[in-house]
Symmetry: C2
Amino acid sequence: MNSVRLSRRMNGLHSSAIRDLLTLTARPDIISLAGGLPDPSFIPRERIAREIDSVLTDPGSVQYGETTGIRVLRSVLAEREGARIGRSLDPAEVVVTHGSQQALSLLAQALVDPGDVVIVEDPAYTGALQVFRTAEAEVIGVPLDADGMDVTALESMLASGVRPALVHTVSNFHNPRGVVLSAERRIALAGLADRYGFWVIEDDPYGQLWFDAPTPDPVAAHSDRVIRLSSASKVLAPALRVGWMHGNREVCAAVELLKQGADLCGSSLTQQVAAGLLADEEWFGAHLSELRSRYGARARALVSAVESEFADRVSVTPAGGGMFCWVQFADHGIDTHALLQTAIEHGVAFVPGSAFAVRADLDSELRLCFATSPEEALQDAVRRLRLAYDDWSAQS
Amino acid sequence: MNSVRLSRRMNGLHSSAIRDLLTLTARPDIISLAGGLPDPSFIPRERIAREIDSVLTDPGSVQYGETTGIRVLRSVLAEREGARIGRSLDPAEVVVTHGSQQALSLLAQALVDPGDVVIVEDPAYTGALQVFRTAEAEVIGVPLDADGMDVTALESMLASGVRPALVHTVSNFHNPRGVVLSAERRIALAGLADRYGFWVIEDDPYGQLWFDAPTPDPVAAHSDRVIRLSSASKVLAPALRVGWMHGNREVCAAVELLKQGADLCGSSLTQQVAAGLLADEEWFGAHLSELRSRYGARARALVSAVESEFADRVSVTPAGGGMFCWVQFADHGIDTHALLQTAIEHGVAFVPGSAFAVRADLDSELRLCFATSPEEALQDAVRRLRLAYDDWSAQS
């Protein structure tokens, strides 16, 4: 076999711990709270099938499409996103991508040179860490608390001379922390972007999945320095592979140019389906309400199971939306990475906090996904986790 | 408006001339031979619709899928591609990508550092030029003749000390030149890859679309140093966005890692459709035969129209497959880029040779696509081109 020399950017790049875990936990005897997958039974397959039948009557639905996405979808998105940020958007300010992950990846290519500073939340979305490491950025973490990114800590960094090319935030129902960036901090973050001239990537796949109350206005409502990302994956179906970004036109043009090389264009077929479903406001509104109610019930079931099984041994983020809750053990001697092995023996999986760490010590924390399993399975999973915890504590 | 600082890799990157042209030539009064689009009426929409209805009964069809592609599709592809290269392939040696363009893009990221030499054919596929320029490679062209890449010229370059990271070739029905790499040159190219330790990317979207006789064994049949790319876009439908690569496992693993960051995974839905259609050998065989016969008739119609309108003013590549034929004016004073403006006034569009040039002088050459328009439209288009040529000659 020939020896394989890979490019420099492959150094230090390693597989997403979560994706590897997903392979491990596909065993039927394991209840996995590790992934971040919507429940397939909540995905409107019949509605998608009907839409596809209608879309396929048009020969254009199977042809190559525009690199930035088919016009009708960009119009629907411009209208929806414009309403969220409180100003009208032109379809030319919207780029449809292959999931919002592709937007993140192309933005990193467009905006980041090797060695540039990129600031992420700590813990961070692992898909963002991968992208910024591939871009050979210097990745710096800023802490999170119950109100989201600690913008005061960010301000101190900036005041001390740190000059990021961009700051990445999951503003709504953070992955993995579950928290929402407060309205005040959104305004402050936008102000810092304007003052210091960096880009904010507001990565928002979960914002529509609120359970009790809508989230504050997007960061993008407060500055033109924000590129806002969202996705159909959590509210319609991951297999559509439809995400999008909107923001500065020059940045959109750069992303378009990179997308020509990256994959020419997305699927006209799944983009037409997404456009049809999002534009059917009555149906989509009812569908969202149902998702909110169903996922909300699961979130409450999971949180109350954790509280009743673990009591004051843990604190758990109250899950107001999204897909995740975050559990912090009061006993800082615990190592959730080691606990995971015991947990798998007991038939339950989660993601250890360290998988999301930039520099923070997250060894006594873990992420649970409440989206994929019904209430009874979530309760069963937490009982198994408690047994694993007892076992592990007895051994340690 | 804030000023926008883009990354270094954006310097010198410019929009694909062809994609820009497509926008220009969407006018209904223009017959465009400029694109490289399959005829939508040849795309089996009814068969796709039936397959989707069946696939959508499975909840997994709308969920996230494996990064390297759903298993059933990789198995079908391993079998088909294995048969072509004459050895059995493991599904782990296959990565499904978002069109073969994504494979090209991720391979460049995995294998090329800024400043590395990449050798392409001159003229080259513009999508490859974009990818290698984004990777900040030093792109060098090697000439083509009627038997494809001039492998002797490549050998001289290598002997003189040029050390490419990779060599890109469109081995079958070259885009834009229409030629097929001869069997002898395939063996010679594979031997050079082994001797000098570079990778060959054998980019083969058109190989199945032969009109008279199948193409020689792939370059990948002759060396493990070849990564072979192909696609469902030209034989099934572009909107499936299903391409694939196969080859060295370490390279596949590196591409998988990059694809996690690039877009997480492809569409389980369209991948299941592609798997179903490719595995239905009786149907797919008949469908391919029909495509060959229909596109073949168009190719012959276009070539004979060019020959009868222009006679010895041009030489035209006999089109044995694929989608393109290449026209070279005997009068080297002609500038096809300037001719294009006159042609558009006469209601016909093509791509000037210079759009594909690395360093070669292709000002008196042009590419015509015979795939998108029926025979009568092709003949009409060539008559318009002749009028434009006369007009342009009279003015110059």
